[in-house]
Symmetry: D2
Subunit: 257 residues, 4 copies
C-alpha cells in the first residue's frame, strides 16, 4: 500500500517584517504553507514574501486566519458572535487571496489559527462562523480540521471540502485534544521522535496520547509541524527525509482530497 500525505507549516507569523529567515529554511521541505493574515500575526508584506517563497518552491498556499489578538498571538479564546467569526475569516482569506492572485497563484486551503482552530470544537459560535465563512468563500477551498474532531465531522456534514490534520510535534491528551502548550511534554522537540510519530500517524492513523493510551484517526491528510519550536527547520527536514526513506509520498493536499 502506498501512503500519501501533505506536510504543512504555519509561516509568515512575524507581526513585523521578518526578512523571512525561518521561512527560507522551512519552505523547501513542506508541501503546504499556512500564511498568517494580519490579525494574530503577519502583515501585507510578510504575506507577499511568504506567498512568493511558496510559489518558488512549489508549495501550496493557504490562509491562516486568526482572532484579532496580536499581543496574545491569537491563542486566547475570544467571545465573538458567529457573524463576527465568519466576517473576520472572509476578510482575512480575501486579503491573502488578493495578494496571492497578484503574485500569480491561488489559495488551496484555509486553516484557522490557534484559539479559532481549537475553539471550533467547544464553541458553537466559532463552529457556525467557520462553516458560514467556508460556504460563502470559493467552494474549492479546503478547510483544515483536527483529524477526527467534532468540527471535522460537522464540516463534512455541511458539504465542505476538508483535510484531516494531525500534529506530529505536539502531544495529545487522551480525549484527542492537543495538550496545552504550558503542560510538561506538550511540545516535542526531538527530530527523531517527531519523525517516528509522523510516520506512525500516516501509516497507522494512530498516536499514543500523553497517558499512553492509543488514539485512532479516521483519516490523516496532512501533518502539521510548528515553525516556532527551537530547531524547527531541523525537525521539518528530518520528517520530510523520514517520509522519503519510508516511501511515504508527500504532495499538497489539494491533489488528493
Amino acid at each position: 500500500m502506498t501512503f500519501r500525505v501533505d506536510l504543512n507549516c504555519d509561516l509568515g507569523e512575524a507581526f513585523t517584517h521578518s526578512g523571512s529567515r525561518i521561512e527560507r529554511k522551512i519552505i523547501p521541505y513542506i508541501t503546504s504553507v499556512n500564511v498568517a493574515c494580519g490579525f494574530h500575526a503577519g502583515n501585507p508584506t510578510t504575506m507577499v514574501e511568504t506567498v512568493n517563497l511558496a510559489k518558488k518552491n512549489g508549495v501550496a498556499v493557504g490562509a491562516h486566519p486568526g482572532f484579532p489578538d496580536p499581543t496574545g498571538f491569537g491563542r486566547r479564546q475570544m467571545d465573538l458572535s458567529a457573524a463576527e467569526v465568519s466576517n473576520l475569516m472572509i476578510y482575512q482569506v480575501g486579503a491573502l487571496a488578493s495578494l496571492a492572485q497578484a503574485s500569480g497563484t491561488n489559495l488551496q486551503h484555509v486553516k484557522p489559527h490557534g484559539a479559532l482552530y481549537n475553539g471550533a470544537n467547544a464553541s458553537e459560535n466559532i463552529a457556525v462562523g467557520i462553516i458560514s465563512a467556508m460556504k460563502q468563500l470559493n467552494q474549492n477551498l479546503i478547510l483544515f480540521t483536527m483529524a477526527g474532531s467534532k468540527m471535522a465531522q460537522r464540516a463534512i456534514n455541511s458539504g465542505i471540502r476538508i483535510a484531516q490534520e494531525v500534529f506530529a510535534d505536539r502531544a495529545y491528551d487522551p480525549d484527542g485534544h492537543l495538550s496545552p502548550r504550558g503542560n510538561r511534554g506538550a511540545v516535542i522537540r526531538n527530530p527523531k521522535i517527531v519523525s517516528e510519530r509522523a510516520i506512525k500517524m500516516v501509516r497507522e492513523r494512530s498516536v499514543f496520547a500523553l497517558n499512553g493510551s492509543s488514539l485512532k484517526f479516521p483519516k490523516v491528510d496532512t501533518v502539521c509541524l510548528h515553525s516556532d519550536t527551537p530547531n524547527a527547520p531541523g525537525i521539518v527536514k528530518a520528517v520530510r527525509e523520514a517520509f522519503q526513506k519510508e516511501g511515504i509520498d508527500t504532495a499538497p493536499v489539494g491533489a488528493f482530497v
Copy 2:
C-alpha cells in the same frame, strides 16, 4: 447640456462596531460609498454592514484603504516603500472584495484614504505603490483621484481607469490642494454653500480657492462629501436635492467613466 455626476462618501469609519447610525442616514442620498477597510478605521463587521446597506440602497461599493494608523485615522503621512503601499492596498481591497462577494455584490472602485490619497501627489513611493496595486488588482476597478492632480494624470498615463474627484465641503488652496483641516474655513458646514459649490463644480468644472482665485478641473466625475462633519446627513441630503432641482443626474461613476 445634461450633467451627470457621482456622489460619494467615506463610511464604515468606526473602528469599533458602530451600529451604522450615520451610515443609515447618509447612504440613501449618495451613489457610491467608500468603505473603510480596517487599517485606518473599520473592521470586518462594519464592512459587511456598510456593504449590505449600500446594496439595499442601490449604491455602488468601493474600497477605502488607508495607512495602518488607527490612532491617527490614517491622516498622518507614513514613510513606506512603494512595495509596502502596493501590498497594503491589495490586502485591503481584497478583504473588502471578499466580503462584498459574500454579500452578493462587487467592487466598483478604490479610493485611497487620507494621507495615502493626498500623499500620492507628493511622494513617489505612494504614487508608484498605488499604480502598482491597481495594475495587479481587477482591471475594471476605478481609481478615485483628485481632479486635475499629478496623480490623476499619472494614473491615466498608466492606463488605469479613473474618476476625477472634487470635494464640495472642503476649501481648496490656490495650488489646487485641499486646505488642511486645521486651517480656518477648511471645512465647510453650511448645506446651502456646499450645495452651491457642488453645482458650480459639476456645471462649470470650477471652484473658488480660499484666496478667491478660480481653479479649473479638467473633468468632474464624482463629488465627495464627508460623513464626519457635524450635520453630515443634512449636508448630503441638501446636495442631492439641489442636484435634482438643477437637473444634474446622479449615478454610480462606474456607469459613465
Copy 3:
C-alpha cells in the same frame, strides 16, 4: 438626611483623535471621568485632552482600562490569565497616571471597562487580576465596582478602597446584572426616566429590574451615565439638574469614600 453621590461617565473613547466634541458637552455636568487608556479605545492624545478638560472643570480623573480589543470596543470576553489581566491594568493605569501628572493632576480611581468590568463577577482570572493590580498600584486609588456585586465584596475583603457603582441609563436583570445591550429596553434614553431612576438609586439604594422585581444596593457611591447613548449630553445635564433640584449633593467620590 443629606445624600451625596458622584456622577461618572466614560469619555475619551474615540480610538482616533476626536476633537473631544462629546467630552466638551458632558464634562461640565459630571464629577468623575473615566478615561479610556488606549486598549479598547483612546490614545495618548485623547487621554491628554480629556484630562485637561476634566482639570479645567474640577472633575476627578480615573483610568478606564480595557481588554486589548479595539474592534470589539473591549466588550467581548477574552480568556486571559490573572497575570495578563493584572499586567494590562497596571500598564494602562500607569500610562494615564503619567499623562495626568504631566498635566498637573493625579488619578482618583480605576474603573475597568466593558468585559473586564462585567467579567470580574464570573471569571476567577479577571477578579484575581484586578485585585492583584490594585494591590500593586498606588493604594489611594479607588476601584469602581458594580454595587453589591461579588467583585465589590471581594475587593473590600482584600482591603481595596472601592466605590459602589450603579447605572442609571441601563436596565438591570433580576439577578442584579446589567441586561445585555442587545436586549429590548436594556439602554434607557429618556432623560426624565433616567433622572428618576438615578434619584431612586441614590435615595432608596434601589432600582426596579426589567421584570419589575426590586433590587437593593448595599451602598451607592457613584452613578454612571454613558456617553454613547444618542443625546447623552442632554441626559447627563438632566440628571445633574434633577440631583440639584432634589437636594442631592454631587462630588468626586474620592471626597467621601
Copy 4:
C-alpha cells in the same frame, strides 16, 4: 586612565508573548536594558518579564518608546505633531514605570526607538516632542541620544540629563548617521569585529565610517548592541568579555552620568 561604559540592548521586542528566549541569553552580559513599551513592539507581559529578568541580573531598566507602527516595527518615519510625539512618549514611559514599580524597581533611562530615535535629528516635531516629554517626566530619567548628534546637543541645552550612545554592531555613514539597514555592510555580525569596534569607541571615542573616514564622538557613555542580529547573544557576550579583558569597566549609565 580607567574607562567606564554602559552596555545596552533593546529587549522585550516580541509583539506577542515570547517566553523571553533571547532575553535570558543576553541580559546577563549587559548593564542597561531598553524595554519595548507596546507601540512598535512589546506588551504588558513581555514588559514585566523583561523587567524581572533585568532586576534579577542587576541590569538597569529603561523605556524604549516607539511610533505606533507594529507592522513596521517603528522603523518607518511618521509625520506626527510635537504634541503627539510628547504624548506617546509620556504614555509609554509611564506604562513601563508603573509595571517596573509594581516589580519593585525604577526606571533609569528613556531611549526612543527606531524612527523616533533617528528622526530626532531631522524632524523639528520629533526633537521638540522628545524634549517636551523629558521635561514633563521624572527629571532623573536619562535620555539616550546618538553620540555627538544635533539631538544630543539640543537635549543638553535644554537641561536634560543624557547619555551619549554609540552602536558597535552598526556601520556609520561619513556624516555620522547609522548606515541604513538595507545597505551592504550596515549590520556587523562578527563578534570579534564588533568587540574591536566597541573597544575603540570607548577608548578613542572614535570609529571608522563605511568609507574609511574617521568619526569622533565628544563622549561615549553607552554602547548599544542589537538583539535581532543572528547570534546576538554570542556578540553581546564577546563584547562584554572583551571589555573585561581590556580593563574597561561596565556599569549602568545612571551610576556615572
